[in-house]
């Protein structure tokens, strides 16, 4: 796999809070990577730096062979970085179809019928076709999360950043979402997925990383990372106390 996204030496701090410290990450084409980590570990900031919402204090973001560190968010989107937001941000005054059409027309640069076709296809794929003409403001949480994914997909991404798309959903809803992400992967789109719903994540990714205090403390196949003592300690305070509590 040739590298699609490469982060090298990213630094970012807000006052005393370090959200990224000499952070390196390489994601190959079509690769599916999951990221876990406690709250405040810098996961959402990481996405913001990749998508261009946030400027790193130091370091470089390279995408598809080009240095995009200084590029604004809309250019990165057009270059092939699609993203979702943890708290869905639909264009509430527009219909679901129009929401997705914005991404298809602006993000992937399609015109006229071609853009509409792409938007319609993505809606069908994401199970939102029946809600196409509804106002996005009236959607349920599951539908909003799907719309986030649909918009990200409609930009025609090479890389899709998913930020806690399963959070707050019920179990069957999470499974539907996992299936959808599987289809996305099958199309050759690389995926980086931040998720707290760990069981959903492990079903979908090839590789899992754990982010804490602005650095990756574990990187490998999901089973290994979830058994990593450092990771367990983060969640359960380490194996020895885990037994001690029994």
């Amino acid at each position: 796999m040739s590298p699609l996204l490469q982060l090298s030496g990213l630094d970012k701090r807000f006052g005393q809070v370090v959200v990224a410290e000499a952070l390196d990450l390489t994601v190959g084409e079509g690769e599916a990577v999951g990221i876990v980590g406690p709250n405040g570990a810098g996961k959402s900031s990481l996405f913001a730096m990749v998508s261009g919402d946030l400027k790193p204090d130091a370091g470089r973001v390279t995408f598809d062979g080009e240095d995009v560190t200084a590029r604004p968010a809309h250019q990165r989107c057009r270059a092939g970085i699609g993203r979702t937001y943890q708290v869905p941000r639909p264009f509430e005054g527009m219909t679901v179809f129009e929401n997705v059409l914005v991404s298809a027309a602006q993000g992937s640069g399609l015109h006229g019928r071609a853009a509409q076709q792409q938007a319609a296809d993505v809606l069908a794929e994401c199970g939102l076709a029946a809600a196409a003409n509804q106002r996005a403001g009236s959607l349920s949480l599951l539908q909003r999360k799907r719309l986030e994914v649909a918009r990200g997909l409609a930009t025609g991404p090479k890389l899709l950043l998913l930020d806690e798309v399963a959070g707050g959903l019920t179990e069957p809803e999470v499974l539907e979402l996992v299936e959808l992400i599987g289809q996305v992967k099958a199309r050759g789109v690389a995926v980086v997925w931040i998720e707290h719903v760990v069981h959903a994540l492990v079903k979908s990714v090839d590789r899992l990383l754990c982010l804490a205090g602005g650095r990756f403390i574990a990187d490998g196949d999901p089973a290994t990372v979830l058994a990593d003592p450092q990771v367990l300690e983060l969640y359960f305070g380490g194996p020895e106390t885990e037994e001690g509590a029994a």
């Binding site: 989107c77 993203r83 937001y85 129009e98 929401n99 006229g112 019928r113 809606l123």
Partner: protein
């Protein structure tokens, strides 16, 4: 599934044509409903009737209608700026004034003021480029007051030109020889044409690719950016367009009154009118300024005899509207009924709303 009908692309399909026949199975989207077909007809009829008004009504009526059209133009421009671009300006009078003075400057050079109108619009968008560079450094409230200061700067610079009449203003040359009735009718038609053009222009802009992007910016700037919308470019475009519109409105004002007074033409009152009309009508809806301008005009006719009470009542209504009716009249109506006079949206057609296996 036969999908052999020609592609439905935005811009080429008028609302009337799109809803003339039921959509064919292959058509992906519909751009307008039955209500808008009717409203397009009513509006076209209204324009025709209004165009004939100088032949039926007194000059006094048509003259007061000029004010109505000017306010309609300004309010539509402010709606574009604040409602879709998120830029609440209290300084659009800068372009009203620059527009009026451009017509004056060209008239001084011997160019017919009516011919100078489009030039005024053009000049204003040129002036808007450096202005936006400065004003865009400000956000929110500070943008509002900052644009106001910029308008003041324009006024203070213009009154330094003695050839433009200095602080006391001057009268507009070039139309003195014309028959007053003809001049009045020409002014009226120019104002009507510009107002119709403004509304049609806004409609076409919002219906197209850029309009979709602007609506996204209105709803959520960050998300728009993340989905590929060049937000800064969109805002600058809107700013330039609205400067041009206000410039043309200013041009009409000087032609209508045959003179210009810097303090009046650069008055913040113009912004007050624009804001009032848009807030009452409904900010962020193309229909808002039209409805707001009608309400405003009616109030003006009703309260004209009461001097400053008229402005006091307007101000109070504006305050109440901003707090208790944030979507304005049209926003409230359309939210309840779903009616749209100027549909810019897209409806995905039946077969496409079904999952792929059922289409």
């Amino acid at each position: 599934m036969a999908r052999t009908t020609p592609p439905t692309t935005e811009g080429t399909t008028t609302p009337v044509a799109a809803s003339a026949a039921p959509p064919l199975p292959g058509a992906l989207v519909t751009r307008a409903g039955r209500a808008s077909k009717a409203s397009a007809g009513v509006l076209a009829l209204a324009v025709i009737v209004l165009a004939a008004l100088p032949y039926i009504a007194f000059a006094g009526t048509t003259s007061s209608m000029v004010t109505f059209f000017v306010l309609l133009i300004m309010a539509s421009m402010w709606n574009l700026l604040a409602g879709f671009g998120g830029m609440v300006s209290v300084g659009q009078q800068a372009f009203v004034g620059v527009g009026a003075y451009t017509v004056l400057a060209f008239a001084n050079m011997g160019i017919n003021p009516f011919v100078a109108l489009p030039l005024a619009a053009l000049t204003c968008s040129v002036f808007a480029i450096p202005t936006s560079w400065l004003a865009f450094r400000l956000r929110g409230d500070y943008f509002a007051v900052g644009t106001w200061v910029i308008a003041e700067v324009y006024r203070l610079i213009i009154i330094r030109f003695d050839s433009l009449g200095g602080p006391s203003g001057m009268s507009l040359p070039g139309l003195n020889g014309m028959d007053p009735v003809l001049r009045g009718a020409l002014t009226y038609w120019a104002a009507l044409a510009l107002a119709a053009l403004t509304i049609l222009g806004c409609y076409l802009l919002m219906r197209g690719r850029t309009g979709l992007a602007l609506t996204a910016v209105r709803d959520d700037e960050t998300a728009a950016r993340a989905n590929g919308v060049d937000v800064t470019w969109s805002k600058r475009l809107v700013y330039l367009v609205s400067a041009a519109g206000c410039g043309a409105a200013g041009g009409i004002l000087i032609i209508d009154s045959l003179s210009v007074q810097p303090n009046a033409i650069f008055s913040v009152q113009w912004s007050a009118y624009m804001i009032f009309i848009v807030i009452i009508g409904g900010i962020g809806y193309l229909e808002g300024p039209l409805l707001g301008a009608i309400v405003f005009y009616a109030l003006q006719q009703l309260l004209a005899g009461y001097g400053s009470w008229y402005m006091i009542i307007l101000g109070a209504i504006g305050v109440a509207g901003a707090i208790w009716l944030p979507r304005g009249l049209w926003g409230t109506v359309t939210n309840k009924t779903g009616i749209q006079l100027f549909p810019v949206g897209y409806r995905l057609n039946q077969p496409w709303t079904l999952p792929p296996n059922l289409r």
